[in-house]
Amino acid sequence: MSKITIPIGPQHPSLKEPGCFTITLEGEKVVNAVVGVGYNHRGLEKACEARTYIQDLYIIERVCGICSHTHSTAFCQAVEELAGVEIPRRAAYIRVIMAELERMHSHLLWLGVAAHEIGFDTLFMYSWRDREKVLDILAELGGNRVNYGINTLGGVRRDLEPQMADEIRAMLDIVEEQNKYYIQLALSETTLAARLSGIGKLSHEDALRLGAVGPVSRASNVDTDIRVIDKYAAYDEVPVTAITDDHCDVFGRAVVRVLEIMESIKMIRWSLDNLPDGELTAKMPRRIPEGEVFSRTEAPRGEDTHYVRANGTDKPDRVRVRAASEANWHSVKHMLEGDYLADVPIIIAAIDPCYSCTDRSIVLRSAAGERVWDWAALRRYGIEHYKKQGFDASKIKIAERKIIR
């Protein structure tokens, strides 16, 4: 049978953000898949170097629209460690409550998107309606529906008042009841199981080999939960159970996510009951001492890592973000191969991809082939490019930077 290559994306109805998947088909079967990302590069890491740590907080928060809190937590942790500051316990607990609320809304969002991809729009409407309730609470706690802005260097910006705790508890009761129905649905609805079982297979060994993170790896029975293996914020006190499943397919990922919502509800209730009193912020210096630090958190999509290098000024020397989706692209390629074309959208959606979180670098493609440039070469290219447009940038002085290998 002859092979045919089709592009899915960068603009495609089944993709919510731009990404290009070049699929080679043999009949209906996918024999090769090439993942192409990089359409959303925003230069956030570079922008961080030109701004102070306080200003970076709001840039870092905008790396991802869904898991904004987890990114700012990772960044704050890194800077706090560099400055040698320990945050108050109450602040750590509020960070945990926010993180778990965020996980709830992210997983409910995923459930809706996944249902929509398989043509189950009723479930999509229901889960998004419940997600609204979580978003309302997040807006009340943080001050915004998406970029909550609750984290600050050295603690949190807002307190959790007792009447808010009651509202959260009331919301949790409603969402818990709805979620019990979704669990029942995920575990026993035959149409859902028939559509999701056996597609996007990722064996336990492959998940380890390809470095899958988050619910994708946990659905392949890999026990990787940063909240358990590298406890941060208040997770050393809050009881956490990592949910794993051995289905190793899209169905398993759905099960892991709906069960994780239940786990989050339990954790928020526990944190609200055991919320310690005290200060909200610890005093932070404006200038951060020289050093480098690597910090990680468990985003709803998996492990989120931040690297921060400080040079003793009030601006960071280098910030590097690796969002969870970036770690899962290798698994996507592996999962797509061998499945049918009709399953491609749901397999991609099953990792809960976040394209703009992923895009971190630009590779120049030309007739001469691909090139990866260092800082000096990139600067020379920029000067030449602008010279052609009648603007001479070579006189502008920039600080010497170390080249990262």
Binding site: R51, T52, L57, Y58, E140, G143, L185, E189, T190
Partner: protein
């Protein structure tokens, strides 16, 4: 739970009689939390012109200008709503408490110039 296709049917029928979960904005009024971070408010009386808010603004949206003399200072706050990201960091940075946020979110306008406001 009984294993049958269309198990969601009962659930769907139950919801047929319920009120819609959505709000017909802008025809209906949107309920905004009092803690919501909207447009900021400025109280010029307490301002000392330290410019900490200007220094910390991630979007360079805020500026404080002295419209009085060097001896008799009178400050004005200018905000570019098109640049503002409504993070309220300026409110946190202000040592004198002359900045505060309001839940006012209906700020859209047809012209860019109208977005540059004096607080």
């Amino acid at each position: 739970m009984k294993r049958s296709p269309g198990r969601i049917a009962g659930f769907a029928l139950k919801h047929l009689l319920k009120k819609p979960a959505t709000i017909a904005y802008p025809a209906a009024k949107l309920e905004i939390e009092p803690h919501y971070r909207g447009k900021i408010q400025y109280n010029a009386d307490d301002c000392i012109g330290c410019n900490l808010c200007v220094r910390d603004c991630p979007a360079s949206a805020i500026s404080i200008v002295n419209v009085g003399t060097k001896e008799e200072k009178k400050f004005e706050c200018h905000l570019n709503l098109g640049h503002c990201i409504f993070c309220a960091q300026c409110v946190d940075s202000c040592r004198k408490g002359c900045l505060s946020f309001t839940p006012n979110i209906e700020l859209a306008d047809m012209s860019r110039e109208a977005l540059k406001v004096k607080l």
